[in-house]
Amino acid sequence: MSIKDKVPVTILTGFLGSGKTTLLNRILSEEHGKRIAVIENEYGEVGIDQGLVINADEEVFEMSNGCICCTVRGDLIRVLGNLMKRRDKFDYVLVETTGLADPGPVAQTFFMDEEISSEFTLDGIVTLVDAAHIDQQLGRSDESSEQVAFADVLVLNKTDLVSDDALNTLESRLRDMNRMTRIIRAENAKVPIESVLNLSAFDLDQILKRRPTFLEPEYPFEWTGVYDLDAGKYELMLEEGPDPEMSLVALVNQGESEEELKDGAESSVRLYAEKANTLEPGNTIPYGEHINLKLDDKGNKSFILNIEKPTKIGLFTQHTAEEFNMKVIKREENKEIPFNTERFWQAEHEHDDEVGSIAIERFGDVDPEKLNTWMGRLLSEKGVDIFRTKGFISYSGNPRRIVFQGVHMLFTAQPDKEWGNEPRRNQLVFIGRNLNEKEMQEGFDKCLI
């Protein structure tokens, strides 16, 4: 049976009062021509009006080896096993879990139980978040962080009760915890049905289409501007901004193509790793060095750029140019020179929450055996802390890319479309608690051929 013939299942999570039942009722009452079976285990909230609703017990089974990352939900196996026999009567399943539940065992059921995984496919995990209360909850309970970490879609509900500023802050905090997720804001759980059903959430292509930069490495700078400059003296002028200082690397002969920009970024990362020299306003900016512009004086501050012969200068800056209204001015003519090209980078974030996501992207092929060994060890040692894994990889000698997804220690890998003329590469995302990005990237690098 191909994945297309399987009945898709959405897991709906969220704390009590976050609006799950409202969302369920919306989904069920909308005209979509689908027969949806709802498996719910939460009592006491507003009742569900329509559709095939079955109660489950939330019975979690630990395996005999005591491995808690391989727990499954016994009640779901029974209920789905029975639904399976009535499959001509419905075409979608929604599993609602209680506010306090860890979504892990529910998701794992679709990997661990052969009968269930042969008939159903986990389409995605939707987590409802109460915008007014999630902030306190994130600090207080592990479950709410886990529900955020597991989510393919986060519905930020009750947005009418919170200011825009607070929403922005919350959204960026949630995004730090889970880089793969899609965030939808909603009042009264009003979201388009297609945003929570048929997500094909494990389809990394779709995620990339939605958020092209999410797999990019994090750089210590946010912005690059490339300026085409003739010989002469220039001033780099900055107004007051959010920080009393800003790091910068200036490179000569910086190309403007995507590849050249990425090359420049790689060089700059290495330079950023070195200790920065502090530069006072009025000083001359050296090329190919990590410097720190002192910006704590009031008003405009200028630094000097000396150009001996015509070249393209690339400025890799810690913050975006906009934040300081940064300009390059030709001294003799007192004329602003606009940049030719700009490029924003996925900047490093400080992770306040223990839960976060990391991404690895590498061109080339991996040795399947080495990858298996590495992944096996990683998941057996860190499986409890790794909530979700998604990605695709290039196996040496295999014309098709290998798509994989996992929950805790369990994962599946299957061949997908052919690489064709596309450059062969590997993209992996891990979401979990206290993940060591450097160690994991180094581990993966050793699997490359």
């Binding site: 395996m63 005999s64 005591g66 499954v72 026999k85 052969e114």
Partner: protein
């Protein structure tokens, strides 16, 4: 079905009769000493056929709202019980299908029903509780809550009932209301079979193993290496062989001598998709298996658990249940499309020389 060409009965399987019920058939059994064959479908339809020719005798629709989950025919074959998602059990008369008694057990699904061998008691599992009623529907015993949903029940002798749930098998003396024995194992037990003498308790576990205990010695053992969870278990009538399966292979453990610990099991590989039902004949070392691929095979086994197919047929779709006629002269299979197949099974012994009369 992939890789399976439809084929007519082969070997010791011979043409019998076919019929159809309304929905996915999940339960079946022989009543009135083989004169009648009863089928239950997932939507709650119950159908009674004449055992010899498949002529419909009576039928009922929607007996359990939400759907039917289990059916058990009384050993005397005059009455039977069904249960469903509605939390009800119905005890019915085989001749007309008339409901004699309805037992309302509350909200939970009633997933397991078993008559005691002497037919005096009906054990019923619903969620974490097990109930025992007599033939006329009077409650005789109720268990305390088990630690989790009861996944299997079976009678070990006339007054003793065994239950399996996550982490344990328990033996209850239901007449004196006491617990006789508790066998514990941290694992999710999904199926249970007792050897005919009641000494060996075998359970399939969610983590792809079979765990078993010998009650007399208290020794337990675990058989691992199954590709899927062993949901299907069957002992032969002498208790020498235990057939198990959760994949397309049947693994047979032999308890002869010092086995099965430290021995190689027998293996039967006749199907292309996982086994969906498994049953030893009432007498002898014949095991029948039905698969998700729609094939049904009967194999004759040797003492080491290996064996050869002696008959096969294609039932058309996932085999929901199989049942040997009490005299083993016919084998029935019901499937996911609601098709009922009954094949004559011709065994030449002194007792049954002709198969079907």
């Amino acid at each position: 079905m992939p890789d399976i060409e439809p084929f007519s009965p082969r070997g010791m399987f011979h043409e019998g009769w076919t019929a159809e019920v309304s929905d996915y058939a999940i339960a079946c059994g022989w009543a009135l000493k083989g004169k009648q064959f009863i089928v239950g479908d997932v939507a709650g339809g119950i159908f009674a056929f004449e055992g010899d020719n498949g002529k419909i005798i009576w039928e009922k629709e929607n007996t359990h709202s939400g759907g039917l989950l289990a059916m058990a025919i009384h050993p005397e074959g005059e009455i039977f019980a069904t249960s469903g998602q509605d939390g009800n059990v119905q005890i019915c008369n085989c001749h007309e299908g008339k409901v004699i008694k309805t037992l309302d057990l509350g909200k939970g699904w009633v997933e397991h029903l078993k008559w005691s061998n002497d037919g005096l008691f009906l054990a019923i599992a619903s969620s974490k509780k097990v109930y025992v009623f007599n033939e006329v529907g009077e409650e005789k015993w109720t268990s305390e809550d088990h630690p989790s949903t009861v996944s299997a029940i079976t009678w070990s002798n006339k007054n003793e009932l065994a239950t399996a749930c996550y982490g344990r098998v328990t033996f209850f003396d239901i007449v004196n209301n006491k617990t006789n024995q508790k066998l514990e194992w941290q694992g999710s037990l999904v199926s249970m079979e007792l050897s005919p003498d009641g000494d060996i308790v075998a359970c399939g576990s969610q983590d792809n193993s079979v765990h078993f205990w010998r009650r007399s010695t208290g020794m337990d053992a675990e058989m691992t290496g199954y590709p899927g969870k062993p949901s299907h278990l069957s002992f032969d009538d002498s208790g020498k062989l235990l057939a198990t399966s959760g994949s397309e292979r049947i693994t047979v453990w032999s308890f002869i001598g010092n086995g099965p610990e430290g021995t190689m099991p027998g293996e039967l590989c006749h199907h292309t998709e996982p086994i969906s039902s498994l049953a030893f004949s009432n007498k002898g070392m014949l095991v029948a298996s039905g698969s998700r691929d729609g094939s049904v095979v009967a194999s004759f086994l040797k003492n080491d658990g290996n064996g050869d197919p002696v008959g096969a047929a294609f039932a058309g779709d996932l085999v929901g249940a199989i049942s040997w006629r009490p005299d083993d002269c016919a084998l029935a299979a019901v499937n996911a499309k609601g098709v009922v197949n009954v094949w004559k099974f011709k065994v030449r012994t002194n007792l049954f020389s002709k198969g079907f009369k």
